[in-house]
Amino acid sequence: MLLEKKLRARLEKNKILLMTHIVLGYPSMAANRQVIAQMVAGGVDCIEMQIPFSEPMADGPVILKANQDSLAAGTKVADCLAFGAEMTARHDIPFLFMTYYNIIFKYGEEKFFKDCRDAGIVGLIVPDLPPEMGENFFKLATEYQIAPVLIFTPTSTDARMAELDKVAAGFIYCVARRGVTGKQSEFGKDFNTYLARCRAATTLPLAVGFGICNRDDVTAITGLADMAVIGSETIRLVDAHGPEAVEPFIAGLR
């Protein structure tokens, strides 16, 4: 699929790719625009844009609050799709949407895929939609050629990884640890074993997320995985130092 191809192309130039995360509408779409520009300037390889949801069950406090504030400010799903189209037109890197299934379900699955494709979105991350629950969703993903990114976790058995691999596309999102987004992870021996299991289970590129904050974390996974995901940390950075802090931060990660 498109997403995997684009990532593989970028892997030619860099041993480790960087994916960043933003919550759409937090603190505002105008700010999102600036932050994304900074990220791209900083050399990011891929961006996941979260469409806010009132019940972000798998997110930790930082992203949770960003979701709530964005909604409180009036962010609509249609705005997010339009914003996505604007970004894909402006920046030449792959953009994904991350959101919870209800947003898609309520929007209408097929319409959502269609509008994503029209917006130039190349992948979707939906943390509360396991393959068993998404028969139609995964059929549409193939049909519309939008990569359904799936998640491996330290609790996933080999058998489960194999199952997930069957329907996943683009890349596999390996969460570094139990828990929600936003907390530090430790990249020790168990982690290496886990990543080796992930690697064995799929031929897709591996992204590692949950708690990657700095250059050391990125270095730690280089060679083991293909992409580092920086989530809550950029939100914290923008909150504290404004959008301008993002480019140097990203540029300094590898």
């Binding site: 019940e55 930790g60 709530q68 309520k106 943390p127 396991p130 976790t153 330290p154 489960r160 139990r178």
Partner: protein, 408 residues
């Protein structure tokens, strides 16, 4: 139940991948328990020695006379240990936890009843215990919080979202994904990802099984109608299961009408027109949400009914027409509570009183040969702060003011 935990088109298990394995193990433990006759025996034994089962079926003679129609019977879940039907579910899950060998339990709570019951079970079974409770509910149900803490539980006020039940559920899930190996999440109602709706309903079926036997013994035939309030749906599922396959028994679920179905301030999902199908908190059901799929604020005087979703099993039974859904407003609830206290010396929880409201509306239409059962899911003691406030009781206010003086 269909494959994958669906009931009709409702239910399922929309869970983060990190929980996949845990749900697989939970489902296996549940199936083993369901296939092991000793398990249910042990459960019945526990409920009859630690709680007060079978709970009585009380004939409400004065209310019956007052309304002049059907004979009104009340199933007395308020007499359970900890004061509500929540004990049934929690003790059952406790036995499962013992089998699974986990050492810690977490739970969400709205009215505080489920938190109380879970803290109690954890004390009895020697488990570590954390309870998540929306901050709004912490304020509404402070006495329950105090007792949970005294029983050794940690109560965490949840400050996100609407600061009520749904947010407590989200927070409990966040804990669970973090502590998935050691911890079991004791979900408090017949909602959430499969197998919870089925599991909770199974434990609560003890209510319906008893009630069916009792009404046959006392009334000589099945009741015409059975009423239960519906928050998540567990007490309703509990009693309805005793009569589900007896088509002559009308089953009536009563939701929180709050300030009225037209006011936008209510928690009615299966009656009224404000809910639509959705997927959240791990399952598909009718949710109170806007056109973007964002959950709406809900309102009820009863903390335990103040919830955006509803049991997928009830969504299915509503769709199939087997259960009829009605709503009761906050004001109607206060009136029915007042009447029930004065006429029968019984204090239903605000949640339970919703069922009474609808039963009182319909009893006069029925004949004295008919019986109806109201499921009194809990007792109203826990609601003293809310009820005394709602009745605007002057000496209660004076009392609180005097107490506060001592403390400041």
């Amino acid at each position: 139940m269909k494959q994958n935990g669906f009931f009709g088109q409702w239910g399922g298990a929309y869970i983060p991948e990190i929980l996949h394995q845990t749900f697989a193990e939970l489902t296996i433990a549940l199936r083993q328990a369901q296939n092991d006759p000793n398990f249910w025996q042990e459960y019945l034994e526990l409920m009859s020695t630690y709680s007060c089962r079978p709970t009585p079926l009380t004939f409400a003679e004065n209310l019956t006379k007052h309304f002049g129609g059907a004979k009104i019977y009340i199933k007395r879940e308020d007499l359970n240990h900890t004061g509500a039907h929540k004990a049934n579910n929690v003790m059952g899950q406790g036995l499962l936890v013992k089998r699974m060998g986990k050492k810690r339990v977490i739970a969400e709570t709205g009215a505080g009843q489920h938190g109380m019951a879970t803290a109690t079970m954890a004390a009895k079974f020697g488990l570590e215990c954390t309870i998540y409770m929306g901050e709004v509910d912490v304020l509404r149900q402070r006495p329950n919080v105090f007792w949970m803490e005294k029983m050794g539980a940690t109560v965490i006020p949840v400050q996100d979202g609407s600061k009520t039940l749904k947010d407590a559920i989200n927070e409990a899930f966040r804990d669970w994904v973090t502590n998935v190996d050691s911890t079991h999440y004791v979900l408090g109602t017949a909602c959430g990802p499969a197998p919870f709706p089925e599991m909770v309903s199974w434990f609560q079926s003890i209510i319906g099984t008893e009630a069916r036997k009792q009404i046959l013994a006392r009334h000589g035939k099945l009741p015409a109608r059975v009423y239960a309030c519906v928050g998540g749906g567990s007490n309703a599922m509990g009693i309805f299961q005793g009569f589900l396959y007896s088509d002559e028994v009308q089953l009536v679920g009563v939701e929180a009408g709050g300030k009225g179905l037209g006011s936008g301030m209510h928690a009615s999902r299966l009656c009224g027109h404000d809910a639509s199908p959705g997927v959240a908190q791990g399952y598909k059901t009718m949710f109170l949400q806007n056109s973007d799929g964002q959950m709406r604020e809900t309102h009820s005087v009863a903390a335990g009914l103040d919830y955006v979703g509803v049991s997928p099993i009830l969504s299915d039974l509503a769709e199939k027409g087997r259960v009829r859904f009605e709503s009761a407003t906050d004001d109607e609830v206060m009136t029915a509570l007042d009447l029930t206290m004065r006429m029968e010396g019984i204090i239903p929880a605000l949640e339970s009183t919703h069922g009474f409201v609808q039963a009182f509306k319909e009893a006069p239409e029925l004949s004295p040969d008919d019986a109806i059962i109201i499921n009194q899911s809990g007792r109203g003691d826990k609601d003293i702060f809310t009820i005394a406030h709602a009745f605007n009781d002057p000496s209660w206010k004076e009392f609180i003011i005097a107490r506060a003086k001592e403390y400041s």
